[in-house]
């Protein structure tokens, strides 16, 4: 029987090395075709007419002028008169025309009359939320928090939070839909779920799921926002049908992308946390609220990671008339982390303790991963020179001046990231090449590269002899890319399929080597009797024996052997300088120490961590979906005023991945989400350490920094 396990450290030829992403050359040369880039013959362009009001009733819709315009091929009313709109930008009418400008003209010619209704779009102030926008609060108690607070010797109370941010995928949401016949649909989507989206389209269009063919080579970012096909996608298919099956392309405009296609829920909390004089944390109490649109939002896991013995939480889910929330990298964790680590930093400051010492003193409260966190904390502290630079809160870290205050902040986080269900077909061809077919997708994280590395490692061949085929739902089904589940799923299915295919090859050639399959191994481009390089044949010679009959094996996850597991930890530390005259926060250094089990490709793994930290700087310092209470609209649905971090904003980075014993044997675990969790907390803590006062809400914009300083001055 084959053994399903990962090769030992000394025997790995590709796994864990620094390998450049295999689709890199296509991406730098413009050859990589994204959904947005696909031009189909006779393609029409769709545009949507959107509600300008956050809350309104549709009174009437007149599409007659639009229908008569030159080039217009189909018009569909999506929401009928009488329907109630719950967010600005909601789709009401869709039009398709021969080119984009004709479609835009037609969309502008649609006349819709609304009855405007009162709306509510800003939930930061809990007291201002109307009763009809509030749910019954949820409350939970653990231990005896009231007694614990009475016995606590040091207690701090403060407010923390972050506003809604949006995903801002550079490739907007959208797809191209075309009917190959009355019953068969071809779709080029920009999605995180190539194998999963067929069902949604089939249900809406009432055709068999097997009649929906999805194809996607490259996609320009998802971050959790691109799981559904969405109403605009379904409407493109309907417009196509009305136009005789012609391809219809719908890609959201940038303003719609920011208004509707990405919302990370807000989170605000009043927190009280108590400790003994020696720093032992004893009690937590929080009253929290937040919103992710009309459906409100659940409570992030407060307190985060720390298993404080006595806790009391109360949470208000607030609805707003804003486009609904979508999963954003590690849903709920960045919010929970900011609130928890912020409160603990404030507690350490009141205790006059270095937060590093405070965290280490309480590290057992982090539970089963305590030793990992401790190791990661000490490593990060060394990388950022914590003990050299850190000064007590408000004194200003090493190198501070009268107006430029330096500060350090730390945070820790966790995530699951166990491998999802995945199937693949691994084929060994008689020319020695290998094909892996899998209905997965590469969001830019290096999925293609990982598949190649795992297959090539298993067969003992160079990675360029393996070709992966992904992004097509006619390949064996593989899970959606969410929850950092892809690397575990696709690595395990590829490994199992490759091991099985290799054993089939061994069976085929063993007689000619006067041995049996169980005595063979594939190493360095050869197949040899285990431990006997002299009794061998080249990989090519072995494959040639397949003649007209290539080998195909189906790899699955889950499956035999322990190839994957779940659960990672990570620590981040930020070093900032705050100009207390202007309120501008500048990143000096930012370090991350992270584990994620067995690393398949060190280069792309580190890129994930760097990228997560950079995105984290964005939401910590710049990103905010600003809603106008008067009009109910987003004020900054563009990239001038919805600000992403730029190249000059990020400072210096160091990333250290925990590998080797204790980590590798856990198998590959997802990395896309965990390092996005801590940046807000680490940077907020660093700013508090620098200026001596907590800036309660992210993003830490200059006005908020100055307001917090002013409040402190006035007492």
């Amino acid at each position: 029987m084959a053994e399903y396990k990962w090769p030992e450290e000394g025997k790995r030829k590709h796994i864990g090395k620094r390998i450049s992403r295999v689709d890199g050359p296509d991406k730098v040369s413009g050859k990589a075709k994204y959904t947005y880039d696909i031009n189909r013959p006779g393609m029409l362009f769709a545009k949507l007419v959107r509600s300008p009001y956050a809350r309104a009733k549709i009174v009437s819709i007149d599409t007659s002028a639009a229908e008569k315009m030159p080039g217009v091929k189909s018009v569909r009313v999506i929401q009928q008169p009488g329907a109630e709109i719950r967010w600005a930008g909601d789709e009401i009418v869709a039009v398709a025309a021969v080119d984009e400008s004709s479609a835009e003209d037609a969309a502008r010619a649609v006349k819709i009359v609304y009855e405007k209704l009162p709306h509510f779009v800003n939930e930061a102030d809990l007291a201002a939320a109307p009763a009809s926008y509030r749910r019954q609060p949820t409350e939970q108690t653990k231990g005896d928090p009231d007694t614990a607070f009475k016995e606590a010797e040091v207690v701090v109370e403060n407010t923390y939070g972050n506003d809604v941010m949006t995903h801002c995928c550079l490739e907007a949401h959208g797809l191209i839909a075309e009917w190959e016949d009355d019953n068969k649909l071809l779709v080029h989507p920009s999605t995180q779920a190539v194998s999963g989206n067929g069902a949604e389209l089939a249900r809406a269009l009432q055709i068999p799921a097997g009649n929906v063919h999805l194809k996607m080579d490259h996609m320009g970012g998802g971050f959790g926002s691109k799981f559904p096909i969405d109403r605009w996608g379904i409407e493109a298919a309907r417009l196509s049908k009305l136009a005789g099956g012609k391809p219809v392309k719908v890609m959201l405009e940038r303003d719609a992308e920011l208004m509707l296609a990405g919302t990370r829920p807000s989170a605000y909390a009043k927190v009280k946390v108590g400790a003994k004089k020696d720093g032992t944390i004893v009690a937590w109490e929080s009253e929290s609220w937040g919103s992710g649109g009309p459906a409100g939002t659940g409570m992030p896991p407060y307190p985060y990671v720390w298993q404080i013995p006595n806790t009391k939480t109360k949470h208000h889910s607030i609805s707003t008339d804003v486009g609904p929330q979508r999963a954003w990298r590690a849903p709920n964790h960045p919010q929970a982390c900011l609130v928890t680590m912020g409160a603990l930093e404030d507690l350490a400051a009141k205790l006059n303790m270095d937060p590093l010492d405070f965290v280490i003193k309480n590290i057992e409260l982090t539970g089963a991963r305590a030793n990992v966190y401790k190791d990661e904390m000490m490593k990060a502290a060394e990388m950022i020179e914590w003990k050299k630079i850190w000064r007590p809160r408000g004194e200003g870290g090493m190198g501070s001046t009268k107006t430029l205050k330096r500060g350090l902040g730390l945070s820790l986080h966790t995530w699951g990231g166990g491998g999802h269900a995945s199937n693949c077909d691994v084929t060994i061809n008689s020319d020695g090449t290998v094909d892996v077919k899998m209905g997965t997708q590469d969001l830019g994280v290096g999925t293609r590269t990982a598949i190649r590395i795992v297959a090539a490692e298993t067969f003992g061949i160079p990675i360029d002899q393996v070709k992966e085929h992904i992004g097509d739902n006619s390949y064996p089904a593989s899970g959606s890319s969410g929850g950092s589940t892809t690397i575990g799923g696709i690595s395990a299915s590829t490994r199992r399929g490759s091991i099985d295919a290799l054993n089939m090859l061994f069976e085929k050639i063993a007689p000619s080597m006067n041995t049996t399959a169980d005595k063979l191994e594939a190493v360095d481009g050869k197949i040899q009797v285990i431990g006997s390089p002299n009794n061998s044949m080249t990989w090519k010679q072995a494959c040639a024996k397949l003649g007209m009959q290539p080998i195909t094996a189906r790899g699955k996850n889950p499956g035999p052997g322990n190839l994957t597991s779940a659960g990672v930890g990570g620590v981040q530390m930020a070093d900032v300088t705050v100009d207390i005259e202007t309120g501008v926060v500048k990143m000096n250094n930012f370090v991350a120490v992270q584990d994620c089990g067995l690393i398949i490709d060190m280069k792309t793994t580190e890129s994930q961590v760097f990228g997560a930290m950079i995105m984290g700087i964005g939401y910590a310092l710049y990103e905010e979906k600003i809603m106008d209470s008067q009009t109910g609209r987003m004020l900054n649905p563009n990239m001038e005023f919805y600000k992403l971090a730029g190249l000059a904003d990020i400072g210096n980075f160091k990333v250290h991945m925990m590998t080797g014993k204790g980590y590798d044997e856990r198998g590959p675990i997802g990395i896309g989400e965990p390092p996005t969790v801590s940046p807000g907390a680490a940077i907020s803590n660093a700013v508090a350490n620098a200026i001596g006062v907590r800036v309660p809400t992210l993003p830490l914009t200059p006005d908020r920094v100055l307001a917090a300083l002013e409040k402190e001055r006035r007492g």
Partner: protein, 222 residues
């Protein structure tokens, strides 16, 4: 030193486009083709009086244009309101330059025009005639990546890759002008491009590699 030779030199939008009734410079450009009511003269330009002078006007219908792209002459037919970016992508199927913000902020559509980087989303196609346009597709020579492209691959200066062609063009142009760029020149030269996946760390390393190579006499001006 003036920064105009390295920054994207299109003016900012005049107005915030935060609502459906808002007017942005770009929408104004796009809409102006239909807003003007000018008698059609078959076969080409019309002349209108504006501020006392004769002004040639194109459109509102499609007009034939010729663009010089990566050294080749390409002819197509577009409405005067069509941007260079849309003409490249929708009419000529040259899709390396990406449409992201569509209003001169993010740099995903960066191309080089007569030696300077421009945002192709904010140049009208008709105005790009007679100029030498270089897109990311034109950097490879004899099937070999340009040193800047190779540096992006080697340093994993990309994830989803949607911003990458714009960054590659901005980076190549910056290094053509400043083969040994200072920290400030790098931040200025690449400050007009945005990445969402967070690849700036890799991009900084890629710039350093490409600059080292160009100082050693590697190929430039590709």
């Amino acid at each position: 030193m003036s920064s105009s030779d390295e920054r994207h030199d299109n003016p900012q939008d005049l107005h915030e486009n935060g609502s459906q009734s808002g007017v942005s410079r770009r929408n104004f450009l796009k809409g102006s083709g239909v807003a003007l009511t000018i008698p059609l003269v078959a076969g080409g330009e019309k002349i209108v009086k504006a501020a006392g002078a004769d002004v040639p006007v194109l459109g509102p219908g499609k007009v034939n244009i010729t663009l010089n792209i990566n050294g080749a002459s390409r002819t197509t037919s577009v409405e005067p309101r069509i941007t260079l970016l849309d003409a490249l992508r929708n009419d000529l199927d040259i899709t390396g330059a990406k449409r992201v913000c569509d209003r001169a902020t993010c740099g995903a559509c960066t191309v080089v025009m007569d030696g300077n980087v421009v945002y192709a989303c904010s140049v009208l196609a008709i105005e790009a005639q007679g100029k030498k346009i270089q897109t990311v597709e034109g950097l490879e020579q004899n099937g070999r990546l340009h040193p800047v492209q190779q540096a992006f691959v080697d340093n994993d200066a990309q994830q989803c890759g949607f911003c990458t062609p714009g960054f590659v063009m901005a980076c190549k142009n910056m290094l053509d002008k400043h083969p040994a760029p200072t920290h400030e020149q790098i931040e200025m030269g690449l400050g007009g491009n945005l990445c969402r996946c967070g690849t700036y760390h890799g991009i900084k390393a890629a710039v350093a590699q490409a600059a080292r190579q160009s100082r050693r006499g590697g190929r430039r001006n590709g």
